[in-house]
């Protein structure tokens, strides 16, 4: 337990809690996890925190021990981008707060450190994603040739997705471009008769785009009773799937496949 904080400190705590909630949300944490983490940290400062989470905004109210509202904040979220290092880092922070009574300054420091942690090198991501695509192809019944084709297609698709994201295209559009590139390459190889088994090579070339995190989170949120958030995440996952299918259809139309 920390001493009763002054006004500036309360504002600091509230802002940091909002920041933590926002970072968890955009990194792909389930709603239950966000709520638990925020409540766990604020309880250590002896505040009651109530939080309302939607896909694009977070509302947070903090009450002190006399049940007076001491902080009230609303935050718009950054674009969603799955980052599990962030979730792991924030979980670590929340336990340090509980076990070692971290002060707000220390939490902010650690949060900044977690945010600055490097991602995997781009080449590693590209190659491993290509490998994942090739694995999917093998699981769907493709041979070595098909796997090679899917490897190239997935790697190129992810590259395009990264580049279009950098150019600030609409996120769904980025996925469309990636799906189009990957399926065009796969379909091209099939047309040239390199890949003999059609469906595995063509369908699995875009599987690296499947919205696994939104779809699984959708159901785990709903099981948890957060029906609103679950539904929204499900719809998001559905739109992404639809976008991928559109990419496939476009390349089918282009190559008369």
């Amino acid at each position: 337990m920390v001493d009763t904080p002054d006004k500036q400190e309360i504002k600091d705590i509230g802002d940091t809690l909002l920041e933590i909630a926002m970072n968890l949300l955009v990194s792909g944490a389930s709603i239950g996890r966000i709520r638990k983490t925020v409540e766990r940290i604020s309880a250590n400062f002896s505040f009651n925190t109530y939080i309302l989470i939607s896909q694009r905004t977070i509302l947070l109210n903090m009450y002190d021990s006399e049940n007076d509202c001491v902080f009230n904040g609303l935050k718009r979220t950054a674009p969603h981008h799955v980052n599990f290092t962030m979730i792991s880092g924030i979980s670590r922070i929340s336990w340090f707060v509980v076990n070692e009574d971290w002060e707000i300054g220390k939490i902010k420091e650690e949060l900044a450190r977690v945010k600055s942690l490097a991602h995997y090198p781009r080449l590693v991501t590209l190659v491993l994603t290509g490998l994942a695509g090739a694995s999917f192809c093998r699981l769907a019944g493709g041979g070595p040739l098909e796997m090679g084709v899917v490897f190239i297609a997935s790697t190129a698709g992810l590259f395009i997705r990264q580049e279009t994201t950098k150019l600030n295209f609409n996120p769904y559009l980025c996925i469309y471009f990636a799906a189009l590139t990957a399926s065009l390459i796969a379909a091209g190889f099939i047309k040239l008769d390199v890949a003999k088994i059609h469906e595995p090579a063509f369908a699995t070339s875009v599987l690296f785009l499947i919205p696994g995190v939104p779809l699984i989170n959708a159901f785990s949120d709903m099981i948890d009773g957060n029906l609103n958030n679950g539904l929204i995440r499900g719809i998001n996952g559905f739109i992404i799937s639809f976008t991928i299918a559109l990419g496939l259809l476009t390349s089918m139309a282009i190559l008369h496949f």
Binding site: Y120, S135, L139
Partner: protein, 167 residues
């Protein structure tokens, strides 16, 4: 030979899980456990499919195994369970079924020929329902350890002897 082919699948499930783990930017120390979990979860599914158990039930069983393993590794490697569980179940997400459903939905919007329409409709419904139920099974399976033990945090949950864990 048949069994060799099934066990070979374990490697591919593991590799696919690892690819997604890197895409989701997991901490490096969790990569190896994710490979193992993906492989074993996938193997469970593959073996059950071999014995002609429904794909929904098989996916649920694989996800449940992954769910329990994620609690174990969460204690070993000091990271929240979903970090391990979500990349590990992704290879079991029914991508091919989802693909067929989407293609079906789009052709349903276009074709009006009565004979093929009914066939496409029933195939699309079948694929779509499979996708939905498999996803539900995956999410439930992964969450099962927490659901049956009614704990708020994996920290309070252990299957082995008591041992002090920090971090």
């Amino acid at each position: 030979m048949e069994w060799l082919l099934i066990f070979e699948k374990g490697i591919w499930f593991g590799l696919a899980a690892m690819g997604f783990a890197v895409l989701f930017n997991v901490p490096t120390r969790t990569l190896a456990p994710i490979f193992v979990m993906g492989a074993f979860g996938g193997l469970t599914k593959a073996v059950m499919l071999h014995y002609e158990i429904n794909v929904i039930g098989a996916s649920f069983a694989g996800a449940t195994l992954i769910g329990f393993m994620s609690i174990f590794f969460a204690h070993e490697k000091h990271a929240p369970p979903p970090i391990f569980a979500i990349p590990a179940v992704i290879p079991m997400v029914p991508g091919i079924f989802a693909y067929r459903m989407m293609i079906g939905l789009i052709s349903l919007a276009g074709k009006t020929d009565n004979t093929t329409y009914t066939r496409i409709l029933s195939e699309t419904t079948n694929n779509g329902l499979k996708v939905m139920f498999i996803l539900m099974g995956l999410a439930t399976g992964v969450g099962l350890p927490m659901l049956i033990t009614r704990k708020d945090s994996a920290k309070d949950l252990r299957f082995k002897r008591n041992r002090k864990v920090t971090g």
